[in-house]
């Protein structure tokens, strides 16, 4: 695991075979190979898979899980978990659309949405990091509370975007130069930023340390609670961004948006090699995990495979991939 990338990279000159082996020990390489294999397979199996349109489509679709996945990645690396993101993704659409309808401003709507996300992040973080309640319990609780709150507030009705703002539509549905969906761009920027943050900023390394061993981190003078708190806030804000983009793709605030999303994302994060025990894994792996699941879903659809088979195949692949990763880890 390349916890200190520059260190492992510069471990001295090696023979090519050794370099290759070292490369393959990296979880990301294996995931990348899987992804490429998947793409090659579907390209041959389906005539409509390998088109710019379809590939960019998938990138756009994957970006929502990717953005949220970065957040979950950070929280899990910090040794915690957040299962409330699915509800949050559904919830942020409400302030977004309500404020937008009232003020006619997308910016104000987004600010309101992010404010809600921030509030949820602060609540989760306070309960889990400062009060010390197990984060699965906390976020399971907030997951119920938020979803129930959505239903209470909306009376289980979607809220439509009355003003039909063009900018709101374009955000989730538009494409840069007609090719790259904007959500994919947002995801890419966030990915690069957070990969840098987690690898090359003390804050990122401290998150790793806190997840790897909170006691040690505390002895090293870290404010463990504050770091974990920060991880929750980051996670919620990213889920908020994901929810804003989803809301744009749906052109409204849909009360059932994001149902089950947390499990999809957690599955992708674990598939990407992040250990639920904390402190192990990388955001690059998370991104690859998300892409693998997204291309799998798209490819199986292109092959006209029924839902029930899709579920079975995806489940088996998750087990196989995680088992393989585990085997590899044990071999070392």
């Amino acid at each position: 695991m390349p916890q200190s990338p520059s260190l492992s990279a510069a471990a001295g000159p090696k023979r090519p075979t050794e370099l290759l082996r070292a490369l393959f020990r990296r979880n990301e390489t294996v995931l990348l190979v899987c992804l490429v294999a998947l793409i090659v397979f579907f390209s041959f199996a389906s005539g409509t898979f390998l088109t710019t349109r379809n590939i960019t489509n998938v990138l756009g679709q994957a970006s929502l899980a990717m953005i949220a996945g970065i957040g979950i990645g950070v929280v899990v690396l910090a040794g915690e978990i957040d299962v409330s993101i699915g509800s949050l993704v559904g919830a942020v659409g409400i302030p977004l659309v309500v404020v937008m309808n009232q003020t006619g401003s997308l910016e104000l709507g987004m600010a309101a949405a992010l404010l809600l996300a921030l509030g949820v992040g602060v609540a989760n973080g306070y309960l889990a990091a400062y009060l010390g309640i197990n984060s699965l319990i906390v976020t399971l609780g907030t997951m119920f509370v938020i979803r129930g709150g959505i239903y209470l507030y909306t009376g289980q009705r979607a809220i439509s975007d009355d003003l039909q703002l063009e900018s709101f539509y374009q955000m989730g549905n538009g494409r840069l130069l007609g090719t790259v969906p904007y959500p994919a761009l947002v995801a890419l920027v966030l990915l690069v930023a957070f990969v840098y943050l987690m690898r090359h900023r003390p804050f990122g390394r401290q998150i790793y340390a806190v997840g790897g061993n909170p006691e040690v981190a505390r002895l090293a003078g870290y404010n463990v609670k504050r770091l974990k708190f920060a991880a929750f806030v980051i996670c919620s804000l990213l889920a908020g961004i994901s929810g804003i983009l989803l809301s744009s793709r749906l052109g409204s605030a849909v009360h059932v948006a994001g149902l089950g999303f947390e499990f999809q994302v957690v599955a992708a994060v674990v598939l990407g090699g992040v250990s639920l025990a904390g402190g192990v894994g990388s955001l690059l792996g998370v991104a690859l995990g998300v892409l693998i699941l997204a291309f799998l879903s798209n490819g199986l659809g292109m092959l006209n495979i029924a839902t029930e088979w899709q579920l079975v195949i995806t489940g088996l692949i998750i087990i196989a991939a995680v088992a393989f990763d585990e085997l590899k880890r044990r071999r070392q």
Binding site: T51, R157, A158, S248, L250, G251, V254, V256, L259, N304
Partner: protein
């Protein structure tokens, strides 16, 4: 003669649900008859997946797209994107603003006519008393319309009819059973159970039975005629006397026809109404369906003879 599209893609809400299984069956049969390639993608109740699936179909280059939205508001951008892409779009089940056409039953009317039938039944067999437990689903406007229609229809016969308890059964049998058990315990006077789909009415009825109550003096009204469940219940449960049949196969059949018309730029109404009718009495279903083993077959002659209304009495816009 008109041309037929080569390929139609259908994004469904919940492919594994019996109702949609039969809608798909109707579509497949009709597409097969017309020699059209037909593909289904399932949103599996996930709005984000609904958008992705429609996107994928458009990338794949289908000639016509049919969508049953998971949520109608969430499909608004899809209507626009389909237009931008030049793909004709048929909505099934729920209207979406900006759409060209929709194939759907009239949910309010369906409930209403079942309500009228229930009112007559209650007048004749239940001493004119109607205390209703609604095993509803506030999540969808369609199911809310059904419940409203049912009560309004019921009141045309029995103006004193009341909804004693209005429940959210999640549209699931197990959840319906759970919430019904509580409501039945609280309200000893319930004598009509209305379910917004067959799972809901079944959940309500099973809660009644589990409470050890006799079915004398009870009326159960189901909605949908989705699969085998209602047939079995009508055949075996004395209180299950009315089913508001909605003929999913017919919906599917009509949707494909609408898709073909749209493909040929023919004029289509904004709402193509698919017929529904209350079936009253133990054997009433046999008029429309025959069952062999675990497959049911629709009787097209009788179903096609049910004349749909031109226009719904109430729609989601009235809520």
């Amino acid at each position: 003669a008109a041309e037929t599209p080569k390929k139609i893609g259908y994004v469904t809400n919940y492919a594994t649900h019996e109702w949609y299984q039969n809608v798909i069956k109707g579509m497949q049969d009709r597409a097969g008859q017309l020699g059209i390639e037909f593909e289904v993608r399932d949103a599996n109740l996930d709005v984000a997946r609904m958008v992705s699936a429609a996107e994928d179909f458009m990338a794949q280059g289908v000639d016509v797209l049919i969508i049953t939205p998971v949520n109608e508001e969430g499909a608004v951008p899809l209507v626009r994107r389909a237009k931008e892409d030049g793909v004709p779009l048929v909505l099934e089940g729920n209207p979406v603003s900006g759409m060209t056409t929709m194939v759907a039953i009239c949910d309010y009317d369906t409930g209403y006519h079942a309500g009228v039938a229930a009112g007559e039944y209650a007048r004749d067999k239940l001493g004119g008393v109607a205390k209703v437990m609604n095993v509803g689903l506030p999540l969808l406007s369609a199911t809310v319309l059904r419940s409203n229609g049912f009560m309004d229809g019921l009141k045309t016969i029995l103006p004193d009819a009341t909804m004693v308890h209005d429940l959210d059964g999640g549209g699931n049998p197990d959840r319906s059973l759970e919430v019904s058990a509580a409501a039945l315990a609280q309200n000893g006077d319930i004598n009509i159970i209305y379910g917004i789909n067959d799972s809901s009415s079944q959940g309500g009825l099973q809660a009644w039975k589990a409470a050890g109550k006799s079915q004398d003096g009870l009326l159960v009204v189901g909605t949908g005629g989705e699969g085998l469940g209602f047939i079995n219940m009508m055949a075996t449960e004395p209180s299950y006397q009315i089913e508001a049949a909605m003929f999913p196969e017919k919906v599917g059949f009509t949707s494909i026809d609408a898709a073909v018309k749209l493909f040929n730029n023919e004029a289509v109404p904004a709402h193509i109404v698919s017929p529904t009718t209350p079936m009253v009495g133990t054997d009433s279903w046999k008029q429309y369906y025959s069952v062999e083993g675990t497959t049911r077959t629709i009787n097209w002659d009788t179903v096609n003879a049910v004349v749909p209304a031109d226009k719904c009495m109430k729609t989601a816009a009235d809520l």
